[in-house]
């Protein structure tokens, strides 16, 4: 019987990380990162990066994907991949209007 019991302290650490990430996201939202660094759209990038990181932690540890088989990981990745396909190809239409 393949039972893997994740130690509770792992959950507490992930919870802490998630809360810190949330605090960071809110704090960063009030600072104009583009003005500070000269990189356009940096606020959006940082915000999304933190959200993705949080999601990855939830998937790996709370949802036990780290302790599951290859098929589970493949299933999750497929879902993400096809969402990314939808978003990027649709966006690519709008980004290239008027280019050609």
């Amino acid at each position: 019987m393949s039972l893997h019991v994740v130690p509770r302290r792992v959950y507490y650490w992930i919870f802490t990380a998630l809360m810190l990430g949330t605090a960071l996201t809110v704090a960063a939202a009030f600072v104009d990162l583009s003005a500070a660094t000269g990189v356009p759209g940096l606020n959006d990038v940082v915000m999304l990066a933190i959200a993705v990181a949080k999601a990855v932690l939830v998937v790996l540890f709370f949802m036990h994907v780290k302790y599951s088989g290859r098929l589970t990981a493949l299933t999750v990745l497929s879902g993400v991949l096809f969402l990314v396909i939808l978003l990027t190809i649709t966006l690519s239409d709008y980004l290239t209007r008027g280019v050609l």
Binding site: M1, R8, M19, A29, I50, M63, L83, L86
Partner: protein, 221 residues
């Protein structure tokens, strides 16, 4: 004695199309994951509409987003992350057969989920009173009324769909309470709690993206 009882409970749960409980567990877990993939694509369509509209009307979206309460949004984010912790712990409790802990943690998860929904009710009623609900009574005082109505259409669609999923999740959690109290979950059989956990964490992840995308646009201006 407890192991024998647990084994008997487990065996009673075996459905006819499966050969072993392990096979049933593997199948139902894969089934839940595939369902979550459909949910990724379901919410994904809304995220796509949001992405395109935000790109086309960034200023208007930022202005509209400003009328959302960041404090309540952040609070709700913390509440939901907390409920994910208690959910994960409830799964742990089920796995090790700690029935009272499992019951209690499921109950706390439900409570936290309900707090989240309560805050959403407060937020929605604010929007209603400010005439920010799209439709015949929508009225926007700022510079970009058209974009604001699009923003709020997407806001209500996305958070509304999310809230519906929360309600369903709380319903499923409630259905787990009685078996948990009776001690039906153990190392031998705890899959219903595990699968409910998967669903609950997914709903949390959706909010992890919704919160910054809806509440934190252009706050630095």
């Amino acid at each position: 004695m407890r192991e024998a009882h647990a084994a008997h409970e487990a065996h009673a749960a075996l459905q006819h199309q499966f050969d072993t409980l392990e096979q049933q567990k593997e199948a139902s877990t894969l089934g839940m994951w595939i369902f979550l993939v459909t949910e990724i694509m379901f919410f994904g369509g809304l995220f796509c509409a949001y992405l395109i509209h935000r790109r086309q009307a960034y200023e208007g979206f930022a202005e509209a987003s400003f009328a959302l309460d960041v404090g309540l949004g952040a609070f709700n984010t913390a509440v939901l992350i907390g409920s994910s912790l208690t959910m994960a712990l409830a799964v742990w409790a089920a796995q090790v057969g700690r029935r009272k802990a499992c019951f209690g943690l499921l109950l706390v998860t439900i409570a936290l989920g309900s707090v989240f929904l309560g805050v959403k009710v407060i937020e929605y009623s604010h929007k209603f009173h400010e005439h920010h609900v799209p439709g015949p009574h929508f009225h926007w005082e700022g510079t970009y009324p058209e974009a604001a109505e699009v923003f709020y259409s997407l806001y209500f669609a996305m958070t509304g769909l999310h809230a519906l999923h929360m309600v369903a999740g709380i319903g499923v959690l409630a259905a787990l309470l009685w078996p948990a109290w009776k001690g039906r979950y153990s190392a031998a059989y705890h899959n219903p709690v595990e699968l409910t956990g998967l669903y609950w964490h997914f709903v949390d992840i959706v909010w992890i993206f919704l919160f910054p995308l809806l509440y934190l646009i252009g706050r630095h201006h």
